[in-house]
């Protein structure tokens, strides 16, 4: 067990990875923190990219990000412009037709990417942060607090997610996007915390952690500077997992009419389409286009996770025999 980093994750194949650095002392030329972070990220990206499924996911995800960023340039009209004829079928002026309120469907689909990505990344990111802080401290520290946290996490794990989300959303009606993000974070952090905790528990008995403790580092420093870098891939994995469920949760809540109905999101598009009986008028594209976008976005993040899973578990990597 000379080198703790290679056995746990493949994100940091560098034998001079961050973990043993403190023990090595100052004679080693120090790289800047930013440079090293960039290098680690670059390597992680390359490893994920090497997985064909993950590559497809990264490409689709990238396209959606571009679509959201350049929405004003790409969309032919404003998504709120309702000056057009209602329930138009697709035409040269409106490729996907118009909604029951006379808005351009294509523009709404393009702008809808913003809400989904925003909720996905912000809610996914926040629940990952909560999961990391709780999961790592929970796995590392010992004491009576452990049982309390254990109980809380188990409670949130078994609590049925969608009903809880709906109940909270029903009480906080008209809370808008921050409400949706809050609801997703409340219901989504526990799973990641549990996974990260068990990994922390297996890391805390490693030599490099013992060395760090003996050199007098504080608990917080051991947790976040020594253990955390070794779990990059797991954290990335739980981020994409949380982001996927956040995207699906947002669309589900909006579809039920519990989100912010004034913002244009894929879920609320389907809500209005169903309310205006788009199926009966034959405008199936109104349901189809935003739903396909949700499905593609969620799939892309699931696919990226195939590559990330491979990082933390070499057995799941493509192309290796069992």
């Amino acid at each position: 067990m000379a080198d703790p980093t290679t056995t746990t994750t493949a994100t940091i194949p560098d034998p001079e990875g961050p973990a043993p650095e403190a023990a090595r002392g100052p004679h080693r030329p120090a790289r800047t923190r930013l440079g090293r972070t960039g290098q680690v990220l670059g390597r992680a990206f390359a490893t994920v990219w090497a997985n064909p499924k993950a590559r497809v996911g990264l490409v689709i995800l990238g396209l959606f990000v571009l679509m959201a960023v350049f929405a004003p340039l790409l969309a032919p009209y404003s998504p709120h412009d309702d000056s057009f004829a209602r329930n138009e079928p697709g035409s040269a002026a409106h490729w996907l037709g118009t909604t029951g309120a006379g808005e351009d469907v294509l523009s709404q689909v393009i702008y809808g990417a913003r809400v989904s990505l925003l909720v996905g990344f912000v809610a996914g990111g926040l629940s990952t942060v909560v999961a990391v802080v709780i999961g790592l401290s929970w796995g590392y520290l010992r004491g009576w607090g452990n049982d309390v946290v254990n109980f809380l996490v188990n409670l949130f794990l078994v609590m049925p997610g969608l009903p809880l989300m709906i109940i909270i959303a029903a009480y906080l009606q008209n809370g808008g996007l921050p409400m949706i993000i809050l609801v997703v974070v409340i219901t989504g952090w526990a799973w990641g915390a549990r996974v990260l905790r068990s990994q922390t528990q297996s890391l805390r008995s490693r030599d490099f952690v013992t060395a760090a403790i003996f050199s007098g580092e504080s608990s917080a420093r051991v947790i976040f500077r020594e253990i955390l870098p070794n779990m990059t891939s797991m954290i990335a994995g739980s981020f994409f997992g949380a982001a996927t469920s956040a995207v699906l949760a947002e669309s589900g809540l909006s579809f039920l009419g519990l989100g912010d109905m004034a913002t244009v999101s894929w879920g609320s598009m389907i809500f209005w389409a169903q309310n205006s009986m788009a199926i009966l008028t034959g405008q199936w594209i109104l349901l189809f286009a935003p739903g396909l976008c949700i499905a593609l976005l969620a799939t892309s993040m699931t696919l990226v996770n195939f590559g990330v899973d491979g990082l933390s578990n070499p057995r799941l990597r493509e192309g290796t025999g069992r």
Partner: protein, 326 residues
């Protein structure tokens, strides 16, 4: 035995926490749902003082200390008394729930079992034939299908099979003209109506079981005892089923137990699309009508059944895998 007792203690504690959470959530939220609720109730006829008092007690309108409210609430929960529904006044909440429960239990329950069995079998095959089409086809299709939003799959199926082709009815649990009885004709009608929602749930939930089984199976396939069994010259199928799958299925049992517990909650989005009169649809109606007593009762029931299912799975797990009993 100590293991079972510890789990039982934990169950009681979790149940108490869930019941308390159900008490706390409405009180943490801004605004008073009770005022809105009483106003709404008054439209249906005069509100008797006792009904008003019951609503206020349940929703936390200042009246008595918070401790008194809590004791009253706990007492009501134990007697399964959730008060009167606002939307379906003057029906009792418990009557409404009892009316919706069978539809959900039968339809969603059957589909959950089928999806688990089918998904696990496909997952075993995928892991065993790793790297062939038998692996890549189900994993890619499974992850794509499970990324579909439930309601979207449901809407597409309603549109194509219901409206365009007209093969299946698009809403309800039985025909409007049918009279519920125990004849074959009526049962056929019920099955006919359950087909589309069932297929939707099957399509969207199958992927998760396939992926879960495949991944744990790949892990067990790398274990020494599997290599040993293979080296002994046992048949491939024997090794896959009797050695690897038997151990790989354990973690998935937990998921299955949770899913079975979740059956009571119904499949909210799917039931909403198909207007299937189950628990999920009832919860949706309660939420859109701000029917707080109904909402709370449903949420409590859903949580408690998930907790109970989880408890049973853990006990079963302890029997199946002695390592967890420590």
């Amino acid at each position: 035995m100590r293991y079972a007792l510890r789990k039982l203690g934990l169950l009681v504690l979790t149940l108490w926490a869930a019941v308390t959470l159900n008490f706390v959530i409405p009180r943490l939220m801004p605004g008073s749902p009770a005022d809105a609720a009483i106003a709404k109730l008054a439209q249906n006829g005069p509100v008797t003082p006792s009904v008003q008092a019951a609503i206020e007690a349940q929703l936390g309108v200042p009246g008595g200390s918070i401790w008194d409210q809590y004791v009253t609430y706990l007492n009501n929960v134990i007697h399964l008394d959730f008060g009167v529904s606002y939307t379906f006044f003057p029906q009792q909440v418990s009557e409404l729930v009892a009316g919706a429960l069978p539809w959900t239990l039968i339809m969603v329950g059957a589909v959950t079992v089928v999806a688990f069995v089918l998904g696990t079998l496909i997952g075993i095959g995928a892991a065993w034939k790793r790297g062939t089409w038998m692996d890549s086809l189900p994993t890619v299709a499974g992850s794509f299908l499970s990324a579909f939003p439930y309601f979207w799959t449901a809407l597409l199926i309603v549109f194509f099979l219901g409206y365009v082709l007209g093969w299946f009815p698009t809403s309800g649990a039985y025909s409007a003209t049918a009279v519920p009885n125990l004849s074959w004709e009526f049962l056929g009608d019920v099955l006919y109506h359950a087909a589309l929602p069932a297929v939707t749930i099957l399509i969207t939930s199958l992927g998760g079981w396939i992926l879960g089984m495949r991944n744990t199976m790949i892990n067990t396939l790398g274990d020494d005892y599997v290599t040993f069994a293979e080296a002994n010259g046992l048949r491939g199928r024997t090794v896959a089923i009797r050695y690897a799958a038997r151990n790989a299925i354990l973690p998935n049992l937990t998921g299955f137990g949770m899913a079975l517990g979740g059956v009571v909650g119904g499949s909210l989005l799917v039931e909403q699309v198909f207007a299937y009169p189950g628990v999920g649809y009832l919860l949706f109606n309660a939420v859109t009508n701000q029917d707080f007593p109904l909402m709370q009762a449903l949420f409590l029931m859903i949580t408690v059944s998930v907790l109970l299912a989880n408890f049973l799975v853990e006990i079963l797990y302890g029997v199946l895998d002695p390592r967890t009993r420590r």
